[in-house]
């Protein structure tokens, strides 16, 4: 049974449609990666889930619940967490305050959750009182992911988590994604480093010009020569 189901979704910003009838599903316990050229609508698709774009047609379901066009804070309260690609931390808040904001909807004390995040990202424990804006790109990405995990999400959406990171941090990020997934959280991610992403993914979708171009198991996509040639630069 799929957890997140997107069907024939069309929409964009104002009058301009970016997505044209996109479909996608994310099963419980799956890691699904979306790849495709720039401007294919990968990030837009993620924003659509959070009611951040204008949806013209189609539906988005979380489990059996229709969340199409629902207000952002209500989608969040249904258990979906999103790490945007850019500006994904509160730069003027401390690391710990960022994490606290991740659990904003939680009424109970969050000490245990904080401890768990610091265990997952030991670097952040030392920097808990530093402003997030002063951290390096890799550490900032950790804050962003840690913040998203603070709500104990049912589904985690990651928009290019390794963009702009050094190879060392890229490997670390993929390792963390793997660990989060091992804990049972399904993950939907957009990723430029398609080869590495496909190595940890169960399934993949290729999006081109706001339409589904191909989908299949990570292995199928990796071994498809046409896709490899067109979209997986350096993946061969």
């Amino acid at each position: 049974m799929s957890l997140l189901t997107i069907e024939t979704l069309s929409g964009g910003y104002g009058a301009t449609d970016i997505l044209h009838g996109v479909h996608l599903r994310l099963g419980a316990k799956e890691v699904v990666v979306i790849i495709g050229p720039n401007g294919a609508g990968k990030s837009t698709l993620m924003k659509a889930v959070f009611g951040l774009i204008d949806i013209r047609a189609g539906t988005i379901h979380l489990g059996k619940q229709d969340i199409t066009g629902m207000a952002t804070s209500r989608v969040v309260s249904r258990g979906i967490s999103y790490v945007p690609q850019n500006q994904n931390v509160f730069a003027t808040l401390t690391v710990e305050e960022n994490l606290e904001m991740g659990a904003y909807l939680e009424k109970d004390p969050i000490g245990e959750r904080l401890a768990r995040i610091y265990e997952l990202f030991p670097d952040l424990a030392e920097k808990r009182r530093a402003e997030a804006g002063t951290l390096s790109g890799g550490q900032r990405q950790m804050v962003a992911m840690g913040k998203a995990l603070m709500s104990n999400p049912q589904v985690l959406l990651l928009d290019e988590p390794t963009a702009g990171l050094s190879p060392k941090y890229q490997d670390q990020t993929f390792a963390i994604v793997r660990r989060i997934h091992d804990n049972g959280t399904p993950i939907l991610m957009v990723e430029q480093n398609a080869k590495q992403a496909l190595a940890i993914a169960d399934r993949a979708y290729v999006l081109v010009d706001g339409k589904n171009f191909a989908d299949g198991s990570a292995r199928e996509i990796r071994e498809n020569r046409d896709i490899a040639k067109s979209f997986l630069a350096g993946a061969a």
Binding site: F50, L52, T72, S73, V76, S77, Y82, P84, Q87, N88, V89, F90, A91, T92, L93, E97, E100, M101, G102, Y104, L105, K147, S151
Partner: protein, 296 residues
Amino acid sequence: MIEFFNFYLIPGIVVGCIYALAALGISLTFGILRFANFAHGDTMTLGAYFIWTFVALVGMPPVVAWIPAAVLTIIIILACDRLFFKPLRQAPTVVLLIASFGFMLMLRSAIQLIWGVANRTLIPGIQQPWVFFDAIRIVPRHFWIVGAAIVLMVGLHLILTRTKIGKAMRATSDNPILARLSGIATERVVAATWIISTTLAVVAGLFLAIDTDVNTLMGYRMLLPIFAAAILGGIGKPYGAMAGGLVIGLAEELSVYHWLGDDPLISPAYKGGVAFAVMVVMLIWRPAGLGKGRVF
């Protein structure tokens, strides 16, 4: 030297504290609602008239009267936010700015209609100053204004750094979309912002009324120096606004001291121009302010 202390430095600090409290409200609303609220000065005036009403009609002392006055002012501001600003929440900043200008005119006209345009006095008579070392004279009300302003600023600091809603306010000011993505309900943050900034405006109105008198233009006349203070400190930065208020207050008072010879450095008639000069220089030289705030 003693003259400088008693008649320039202390009044400068007092005025600076009033500016700081008012500028804090401007800075908070700018950071979270993303527009320069021209109606803030007249919110002060409204608060001061409510205080005067409770003092004159019910016989409350001003230090108590500001509490029901603040509650009434907050109710009115929240209602007006729903009427005027909420429908424009997603509109361009300039539309909100003009809306706040219109709201300012409506507010002032309503005050003039209800209370009339005559000056009112909150505390009649002249207060005897405390004298220290036979030289330093401090009027008790000045002492209390500065003390209360410090308490309020510390209180605001604690709200912003220790409470969940305060942190949510800073988060929303920092990155509104990420705040929504974290599940922060924007409207609650907006309400909290109005409540805090209006409370600060009413207290600033109280202090100004105690220091001078109550009149329908009192808040409007404050607009220039408090915007100058907020810009100096980096608009959207509460701590910058506190420092900016003090600097503008001191700059205004100290600019009329006879630094050279016997004449004031600049004529007291031009005192108000000092704030304007500081604002213009800052906008040209460093529009983000000393505290690296947002650029208009």
